[in-house]
């Protein structure tokens, strides 16, 4: 008589346990545990293609646990390459100033670029987390490009909600012992980004100036064709999703916020799989077409940095960033919801080393042809795209970047990155 209810109860418990487990897999605690209690794995031979069958032997050990749900799937194909050595430009570190320091908030003061501010990251250093981030923020090759982009906004099952096309052009001003444009020594970088499609956004452009002084907020203007004039924008609001994309401004490159608005913990280094030198802009795979598929991965040693926003109304309880220990580029970022400490957003980056353009060229933007051969010789990474996933919606934004390195002359930079250029647009 009680057999059926007991079976039903057991079934309900099983289902409940399954969903609890599924949710827990993306909790902060599980990722923290995955970082601090490494899963052992065997070395992988170069040229091996990892698939779903390698889940327990390699994938769970090398893909951060919060990402398993998206990156481990039936039919997956990860080509594993040897862990590469990617030297920085020969002049990197040769023209740095040395009169800089970290203040008691962990803010880098007086640094002007031209090299990594911190050569060694030590576990016991209380500022190790901030130092990793400063190295990432001043890495070589982060700008000085013309970067047409295509972004796809996809829901579950790969449903395409929107496709955006835009171009970002950016230059480094602060270069250690000199500045790109004399008289602008307070400027770190300048960037102009213009949308091309869809038409409701076409012609919208913004100019952003970031400063060497980390305490100074960026300056920004946005030109909207419908208004035919630029509008000053607010830089200190960094936590709202951008134009329907599944990211906030603070998520840029893993961390694009203010160091003094977080508390920091360095969690050491960890081996992870990374798309650090892909042959081409990767195709997308998985059940929702959210992640890179059939492309080249490497096992990389990454610094793991944990940060907790100190402001009460921040959407994140914590953020964990994996930054390549050799090149200081962001590989993975995971941000956890303040409400339940489960994954809210994550991103993962696809990079390509400039010297690899000598023997393999990625695809061109669908709307402009560029000469990529000039990328060779810069000895820097180029950002070929990223996956940004909002786990709660759930929804994702995938971007392909078609980067061409471009060094502006002083005269050209002065003309191009100017407010004058923002008072009119393509219409």
């Amino acid at each position: 008589m009680f057999g059926v209810p007991k079976k039903l109860l057991f079934l309900v418990l099983c289902v409940f346990a399954h969903f609890s487990w599924a949710n827990d897999e993306q909790s902060y605690d599980r990722l923290y545990d995955w970082i601090t209690n490494p899963i052992p794995f065997e070395p992988i031979e170069t040229g091996t293609h990892l698939g779903l069958e390698d889940r327990s032997s390699h994938l769970e050990a090398l893909i951060p646990q919060s990402a398993w749900k998206y990156y481990i799937f039936d039919g997956m194909d990860m080509e594993i390459a040897a862990t590469g050595v990617y030297p920085a430009p020969p002049e990197w570190g040769q023209h740095m100033n040395d009169d800089y320091h970290l203040d008691d908030r962990g803010v880098l003061v007086g640094f002007k670029g031209g090299g990594f501010p911190f050569q060694d990251i030590k576990n016991e250093d209380p500022f190790a987390g901030q130092k990793v981030i400063w190295n990432m923020l001043w890495r070589p090759g982060q700008v000085d490009f013309v970067m047409p982009m295509t972004t796809w906004l996809r829901g579950e099952g790969g449903r395409l909600d929107r496709k955006l096309e835009f171009t970002s052009i950016a230059s480094t001003y602060s270069r250690g012992d000199h500045c790109l444009v004399e008289g602008y020594e307070e400027v770190k970088t300048k960037r102009v980004m213009e949308f091309r499609s869809p038409r409701d956004m076409a012609g919208a452009k913004d100019m952003s100036i970031s400063y060497v002084d980390h305490d100074r907020e960026n300056s920004g203007w946005m030109y909207m064709p419908s208004q035919r004039k630029p509008r000053k924008t607010l830089a200190s609001e960094r936590t709202s999703e951008l134009m329907g994309m599944d990211m906030i401004r603070e998520d840029m490159n893993g961390f694009g916020g203010k160091v003094y608005e977080n508390s920091w913990t360095y969690l050491g280094t960890k081996s992870v799989l990374a798309t650090i030198n892909v042959p081409d802009n990767p195709e997308f795979g998985g059940p929702h077409l959210w992640v890179p598929h059939k492309t080249r991965w490497e096992v990389r040693k990454a610094h793991v940095v944990l940060m907790h926003p100190t402001v009460d109304n921040h959407p994140y309880s914590s953020r964990i960033v994996f930054i390549d220990a050799d090149t200081n580029w962001s590989l993975w970022m995971f941000a956890f919801d303040r409400e339940d400490n489960h994954l809210l957003r994550m991103n993962q980056h696809y990079l390509k080393y400039s010297e690899s353009y000598a023997y393999e060229t990625p695809q061109q933007a669908p709307y402009i042809k560029q000469d990529f051969s000039e990328n060779v010789g810069h000895h820097v990474f180029l950002h070929l795209g990223e996956s940004d996933i909002n786990a709660k919606k759930p929804h994702a934004t995938m971007t392909h970047c078609y980067v061409k390195k471009r060094e502006f002359t002083e005269a050209r930079a002065k003309q191009f990155y100017s407010l004058r250029n923002m008072i009119s647009g393509r219409r």
Binding site: R162, R228, R231, K232, L234, S240, G244, N390, R412, S418
Partner: protein
């Protein structure tokens, strides 16, 4: 019947085509030529006093924008070296309009016959055509174009270079679409950093001969005619010496004609001082607002008709302005904006009974000097009870207009009334009177909020309110955009006009002027389908 169904079928067919078609945004032809544009089907339902409804507009618009990159990297047409000229492009925008409501509604048949020239029914125009030339440190834009100055949204102080076409939907459309582009030359000299200033430049504009006034329809048969604060009629009678006479008005065009001495020009210096972005502006032009000068010496009564002559004039104006904005990242997390102007040559009406001291020319016309001060704040704000993933963009502004040499006989909007004689209504006769005394200080406050919903932010609601605290007249707009796809945008808008107290029309075209007290009541529901590429 077939006549009325045909436009619907045509529109349904076109809609079906667009809903099943995907076009890339910006269609490229080779590497030098690009096209973009939109087709818009706009349907407006007017609901006077919310008591009944009538379809007043079915405006179908096709706009095509072409851009030709004929000079790149100092090479023109890939053939000629142009030396210091680095880049040049040609941009051409054309627009065609067909308002099918006049074919659908039989009641409009009489109003819009072929003899009317079908004005408002169809339109084909070259909106903009200009060449951009980059010749560092100078950039030029030459041709028919729009130039916008100032920090104010939705009201005009410094943004007076291009007039507005208010004839078909007042100022309720995007101003990009209702500004009247002018043939002009615009040049910018980039200075950059000097003295205390950063990002500085000087901009000059010259409009050699192309003067246009604001386009306002006064034909009461048109859906958005401006007939003042009363009946939607044209005055055809007048009280004279205790008699009700027919009124015959001859309007003489005394607008500036197309000659170089009627040129207009302006200059602006813009820069950043500290963290304050500011500009100093000067514009020497003609008032886009039209004045009416009554030629009393040419007016006379013959038999039962009073003949009057009025001149349409647009006086010379000087506009001197200053704008500033500042991004306060620390305390208010807002962008603070301000704009102030001093303008001469504002045409104003004088009361017909103004004394000689107030109206020595007896032409019921004067020009005034006016100042404007506008302060505003923009703030992306978290309201998590409304939206958990995106901020709500809040923007508010206060706009204060002040007449310097104020005259208590200044008059605003006239009112058309039914004529009466000996206590009896005279059928078909309407008289105009003007008792709307202009206030020396005029105010309007605006507030807007917008955000985006949905996983990809495809649902975009926005709310706008403009309120005149003196007349208590207000305008509200609720707008919802939904992006069905990258090509198709569905738009819903509800326009509501109201007032809290009294019956003061106010100076801004808010509240009662389009509101509840007369047959002008113009609450509207606007449904649009836009195919964009």
């Amino acid at each position: 019947m077939e006549k009325y169904i045909r436009p619907y079928l045509a529109i349904a067919g076109v809609c079906l085509f667009f809903f099943t078609t995907h076009l890339s945004a910006i269609v490229s032809v080779g590497t030098e030529l690009e096209f973009e544009g939109f087709v818009k089907f706009q349907n407006i339902l007017r609901t006077p006093k919310f008591k009944h409804a009538e379809a007043i507009m079915q405006r179908n618009t096709a706009q095509l924008e072409g851009k030709y990159y004929f000079l790149k990297d100092s090479q023109a047409f890939g053939l000629f070296n142009t030396g210091p000229i680095e880049e040049a492009t040609l941009t051409v925008t054309g627009r065609g309009v067909y308002d099918s409501i006049y074919d659908v509604r039989s009641s409009y048949d009489k109003a819009f016959s072929k003899s009317d020239g079908r004005y408002g029914r169809t339109e084909a125009s070259l909106r903009e055509a200009f060449v951009d030339v980059v010749l560092p440190p100078v950039t030029l834009r030459l041709g028919r174009q729009q130039v916008v100055w100032g920090e104010t949204d939705g009201f005009r102080a410094l943004d007076v270079i291009n007039p507005l076409d208010l004839s078909w939907h007042w100022s309720r459309e995007s101003w990009e679409d209702i500004r009247i582009p002018l043939w002009m030359a615009r040049g910018i000299y980039d200075i950059g950093k000097f003295a205390w200033f950063d990002e500085s430049f000087v901009e000059g504009i010259w409009i050699p001969t192309d003067f246009r006034e604001n386009n306002i329809s006064t034909d009461p048969r048109k859906p958005w005619a401006f007939t003042g604060n009363g009946l939607n009629k044209t005055a055809n009678a007048i009280y004279k010496d205790g008699l009700l006479l027919d009124l015959d008005t001859e309007m003489r065009n005394r607008r500036p004609n197309k000659k170089l001495t009627n040129g207009q020009a302006g200059v602006r210096f813009k820069a950043i001082w500290g963290d304050i972005d500011f500009s100093l502006n000067y514009f020497y032009g003609f008032s886009a607002d039209t004045g009416i000068q009554v030629q009393k010496n040419l007016s006379q009564t013959i038999d039962n008709t009073f003949y009057t002559v009025k001149d349409i004039v647009n006086p010379r104006t000087h506009v001197l302005g200053f704008t500033a904005n500042y991004s306060d990242e620390r305390f208010t997390q807002s962008v603070l904006r301000m704009e102030t102007t001093f303008t001469t040559g504002i045409p104003v009406k004088l009361s017909a009974d103004a004394p000689m001291s107030a109206d020595p020319d007896r032409d019921q016309y004067d020009t005034a000097r006016r100042t404007v001060v506008m302060i505003a704040a923009d703030r992306p704000t978290w309201i998590r009870s409304l939206n958990k993933t995106r901020t709500v963009f809040l923007s508010s502004q206060i706009f204060w207009r002040h007449y310097i040499d104020y005259n208590p006989y200044y008059r605003g909007m006239s009112t058309v009334k039914q004529a009466t004689f000996d206590g009896r209504v005279v059928s078909g006769k309407y008289i105009a009177e003007n008792t709307d005394r202009i206030d020396r200080d005029e105010f309007v406050m605006t507030f807007s909020a917008s955000t985006a919903y949905g996983a990809a932010g495809l649902l975009k609601p926005s709310f706008l309110m403009a309120f005149d605290p003196r007349s208590t007249g207000a305008y509200n707009k609720l707008k919802v955009d939904y992006f069905w796809s990258d090509n198709i945008l569905l738009r819903f808008q509800q326009h509501i006009y109201w007032r809290a107290f009294n019956n003061d029309p106010g100076p801004w075209g808010l509240g009662d002027i389009w509101g509840q007290t007369s047959e002008n009541s113009r609450h509207e529901t606007d449904l649009s389908i836009i195919f964009q590429f």
